[in-house]
Subunit: 116 residues, 2 copies
DNA sequence: GTTACTATATGCAAGCTACATATAGTAAGG
DNA sequence: CCTTACTATATGTAGCTTGCATATAGTAAC
């Protein structure tokens, strides 16, 4: 897979950033990532599993992660995702975006408090 | 206009919340709102004017704002928007959503710092 | 052999975004 | 007068994203 003209897209829930954040610490598969996101409270609302899988495949296409099938024969096969160097860079950019987004939210709240 | 089963939708840039925030203080028209958003630093990226107009019409349909044509005969006609009581309630809900979103961002950043 | 859970994946309708375009009034410059 | 530029509102549309439904397949319990 290739095509690495990556740019941050703020899809409201920062799913890509959250996934990179978890994969930074541990390589694992999609279904497990869903649990991690909920356990680490990295999502506000329910994430549809199909969205998560498609996001991971898109991230692989953008070379932010790589994947391989788990060697284990137990249970259904698992596609294990690992973060790449490009993924670590992207995560760094994402964190900047998030900090900027946080400042924006604070600005809106301040404007709200001012006006009431 | 009617149809007030409003729910907060997190379109990434919180345009609706920003508009309600400004209209809370001052009734004005769409083109001027674009300036206000930029001057108050309530937007990170450029807002397309067509998106702003459609957002305002959708908000009117949801009864968050009302509009009337400016009486002034000078220049092209202006559609003046005013916030409604429903709009003030919606803004209150939006602020809660924003606070929650801010906490989420802080959580993600914390997870990021932890893992590097 | 049917139900439930883990695990991955695709089809599709509805909604959203950004760009292009259309309209119309005012005002300045040549 | 004609063109250009700026204010002001609005619609058409292609492309993308989201969420729901559905398909598949393995394991395990009842």
């Amino acid at each position: 897979m290739q095509e690495s003209n990556w740019q941050p897209r703020g899809g409201g829930r920062f799913l890509e950033a959250c996934l990179l954040c978890v994969l930074q610490e541990e390589s694992t598969h999609g279904y497990a990532l869903l649990d991690h996101l909920e356990r680490f409270e990295l999502v506000e609302t329910h994430i549809d599993i199909s969205v998560l899988y498609r996001t991971l495949r898109a991230m692989e296409k953008a070379t932010l992660v790589t994947s391989h099938w788990s060697e284990s024969d137990l249970g259904p096969r698992k596609r294990i995702y690992s973060i790449t160097e490009a993924g670590r860079s992207a995560l760094g950019l994402w964190i900047e975006v998030l900090k900027s987004r946080k400042r924006l939210i604070e600005q809106i709240i301040q404007q709200y408090e001012k006006g009431r």
